[in-house]
Each structure stands twice: as structure tokens, then as C-alpha cells.
């Protein structure tokens, strides 16, 4: 069966907008949206909340020094509409995250684009609608 993308795209957009919350800050002003980094490490904290959720991960920086990375994710309402709950991630999970790096490198912050839990292959960010604003 072939997916009808003409239908899926507007539906996904409407679903995303239904739970949309305005970021308390501008993403583009906070992150380099034309750059991507990948980090892999152990999850230290999962804050499932509004206006945006945050995932803290202990992972090495480009020099190999361990850092506490703050990864910004969607608001609780918006993620809930995508099947993510406050139980989806647990402290100690080993995850690989791809996203936009913060404009201030010393912040070690990332805007989530893709997440994969290495133990069971749980993924977020590859399916239509798995986005946030």
C-alpha cells in the first residue's frame, strides 16, 4: 500500500499545530539551524514539560572531554500527541542524539532532531509528524 503524501502532509501539519506552543525563545536565534552534531552518551535527566522538554545527556565533546549536554525537545503536549510520555526515556538509557548545536558552544545545548535508544532501537524524529515547534 502506498502512502498518500498529499493527504499525510497537511494532516501531519495540522496535528503538529494543534499542540503547538510558542517557544519562549526563537530556535533560530538560539541554535545554528544550518549545522548538525551527534552525541552519544548516558541519559542523566528527562524533563517532560512545557514550554519544552529537555534531555540531559553525559557525552564527550569534540575534544573528548565529558560534558553535560542539554538537548531541547518538544513541549509535553506536543510530544504526547506523538506517543512520547514521561516514561519513554529513563535515567541511564544510552542514547544517540542528532541535532542543531547552540550558538554559544560553552552552553553545550542541542535542539533535538533525532533520538535513538541504543538498547532497544526506540527512535524519534524519522517519521512524519515527529517534529516540534
Amino acid at each position: 500500500m502506498r502512502a498518500n503524501w498529499k493527504l499525510i502532509a497537511p494532516t501531519a501539519l495540522l496535528a503538529a499545530m494543534a499542540g503547538a506552543v510558542q517557544a519562549h525563545h526563537s530556535f533560530t536565534a538560539t541554535y545554528f539551524e544550518d549545522r548538525t552534531i551527534e552525541i552519544e552518551g548516558k541519559l542523566l535527566q528527562f524533563m517532560f514539560r512545557n514550554p519544552h522538554s529537555f534531555v540531559h545527556v553525559e557525552a564527550p565533546d569534540e575534544n573528548g572531554a565529558m560534558q553535560r549536554w542539554a538537548v531541547e525537545w518538544g513541549g509535553a503536549g506536543q510530544l504526547a500527541g506523538q506517543g512520547v510520555t514521561n516514561q519513554t526515556l529513563r535515567v541511564g538509557d544510552v542514547v544517540t542524539i542528532t541535532g542543531n548545536p547552540g550558538r554559544d558552544p560553552s552552553d553545550h545545548r542541542v535542539r533535538m532532531q533525532y533520538l535513538r535508544r541504543n538498547t532497544d532501537g526506540f527512535e524519534w524524529g524519522r517519521n512524519p509528524g515527529e517534529t516540534f515547534n
Binding site: M17, A18, G19, A20, V21, Q22, A23, H24, H25, S26, F27, T28, A29, T30, M47, R49, N50, P51, H52, F54, H56, R68, A70, E72, A76, G77, G81, R103, D104, D107, H108, R109, N133
Partner: protein, 282 residues
């Protein structure tokens, strides 16, 4: 006698509605973001001051503003004020409070999903509080119908921002709104005056659509957390002239920074030759 009775009945029927019978705005309305989508939803790079009649005080504030300041514990859950909140994604519920005895409208009420804000728009001649009365994010509002346009005037608004790029608003802001319904569409026009940060009225407009099927997404459980590990006593800022991002928007769109940061003169068609000269001079 029969003619008289029919005439009286007709008169009563015509007069059945209250003197101010107006188009109803009751229902649940969801925003549409075809206009200014970049600014209103994801936000753009820093330094977008276009379209705002900002004054020198606002420029100074914006120059010192670091966008990560809103991530501080004190600000994470701070609502947008009434002159700003309609610029973001939101839905609102509108209903009427009527006097049980006369069925005249006492007030319109709004519940805004984002930040779970409540508004009351008094329609019964409610006296405006004195200037020293507490200011809130939604302010104090009174309304009046002009034909089928509801005009709402709001004062006593808490200080916040007109734009996330750091254009500040003051607690002397006055907001005049016009609600104009066309079927299931609602046009919302905002005219903002602010003697502290604007040189002339700042005008915005948004569109809303009546939700025929409501949803349950009305809660906003904002929690304060340390989003990014940092010294909680540190307030991000830039010293004057040291903001490395302030020209990012101008650079991204190939505009002279003077045009982006120029305030009221740049809002009018008369500015086109100036812009042309600035761009040709580069």
C-alpha cells in the same frame, strides 16, 4: 383591533433581541499562521526588528538582550502579555457572561490555551481602575461594539516583549483590538501604543478559525527546571555594542542594518528610495 395586535406582536418580535444584539464570537478559535509564520512560530535569527516603530530606548534594550535570558528559572513560564500572546500559536475559548435577569451581556470571557491565561472584557461600563492598580499579563479590558466590530481597549498590562528578539514592552502599553468575524473566520487587529518604547502605534493582525470539533489540548503544565546547566544567578546580557548576533537578520536577508533597526520611518513606502540608495551604496 386585529391590525393593532399584529403590529404589536411584530414590534415585540423585532424588539426581542437586546438593543445591542451583535454577532456572536462565542466558541473555540484556533490560530492560522500564514502571516508572519517565521516570526510567530519557530522564530528567526536574532536581530529581526523589522516592522516595529521602536525608539532609541528599545534599541538600547534590544542591543543588550541575550535570547537565552528567557531560559532563566524566573522567566521560563512567564506568560506572553496580551499585546504579544496572539502572535504565537494559540487557541482560545470565547464565551459570554449575561445578566440572568436582563440577558444583557456583562462581559466577554476568554481562556487562552498558551500559558492558560484568562481574560475578561467588560461590556457593562465597568470603571477602569486607577493607574496604580496591579498590572497583569492580560491587563484590564473594556469593549464596545462598532457595528459588527468589537473594539477592546486594554490597559494595566505587565511589562514583557513585543518580539522575542528583545523588543521590550512597558507597563504603560495600551492595546486596542478589533475583532471582526466573517463566517467561521475571525480577524484580529491589534494597535499598540507604548510611550516608553515605541514612537508611534505598532499594528499587527492575525486570523483565527472556529473549531467545529474542539480538542482537549487546553492545559499548559509549565514547570521551572534548569534547562541548561548554568549558574542560576547569572543573567545573560551583552554590553552596549558587544552583541555579536544583532546583525544576523540583516545579513541573512541581505538588508542594510540601518533599515532593519530604523524604526518608524522604515515602515512606509516613502522609505523605498532610501533603502534603494543604501543597498546600491554597498
Amino acid at each position: 383591533m386585529r391590525t393593532f395586535l399584529i403590529g404589536a406582536a411584530l414590534l415585540l418580535t423585532l424588539g426581542a433581541g437586546p438593543a445591542g444584539a451583535q454577532i456572536s464570537l462565542a466558541g473555540e478559535w484556533a490560530g492560522r499562521y500564514h502571516e508572519d509564520q517565521g516570526d510567530r512560530v519557530p522564530g528567526d535569527v536574532q536581530g529581526d526588528f523589522t516592522g516595529v516603530p521602536l525608539n532609541d530606548a528599545a534599541r538600547r534594550y534590544a542591543d543588550a538582550f541575550d535570547v537565552t535570558r528567557v531560559a532563566l528559572l524566573e522567566h521560563q513560564c512567564q506568560p506572553y502579555n496580551v499585546a504579544h500572546i496572539y502572535r504565537g500559536p494559540l487557541q482560545f475559548r470565547w464565551w459570554e457572561d449575561k445578566d440572568p435577569a436582563t440577558q444583557e451581556i456583562i462581559a466577554y470571557r476568554q481562556f487562552i490555551g498558551t500559558y492558560m491565561q484568562w481574560r475578561t472584557i467588560w461590556m457593562n461600563g465597568h470603571e477602569r481602575p486607577p493607574a496604580y492598580a496591579p498590572h497583569t499579563f492580560m491587563g484590564f479590558s473594556t469593549g464596545v461594539w462598532n457595528g459588527d466590530i468589537l473594539t477592546v481597549t486594554t490597559t494595566h498590562i505587565k511589562k514583557e516583549f513585543y518580539r522575542r528578539s528583545g523588543i521590550p514592552s512597558s507597563d504603560l502599553t495600551t492595546l486596542v483590538e478589533h475583532y471582526i468575524r466573517h463566517g467561521n473566520l475571525l480577524s484580529h487587529v491589534m494597535i499598540i501604543t507604548d510611550p516608553v518604547y515605541l514612537t508611534e502605534p505598532y499594528v499587527n493582525s492575525e486570523e483565527f478559525v472556529l473549531m467545529e470539533r474542539g480538542n482537549q489540548n487546553w492545559l499548559y503544565n509549565c514547570e521551572y527546571v534548569m534547562e541548561v546547566p548554568m549558574n542560576k544567578n547569572e543573567v545573560p546580557y551583552y554590553l552596549p555594542g558587544m552583541n555579536p548576533f544583532i546583525e544576523d537578520y540583516a545579513k541573512k536577508f541581505g538588508l542594510p542594518f540601518e533599515a532593519v533597526f530604523g524604526g518608524a520611518p522604515t515602515l512606509y513606502p516613502e522609505y523605498r528610495p532610501v533603502l534603494e540608495r543604501l543597498m546600491n551604496g554597498r
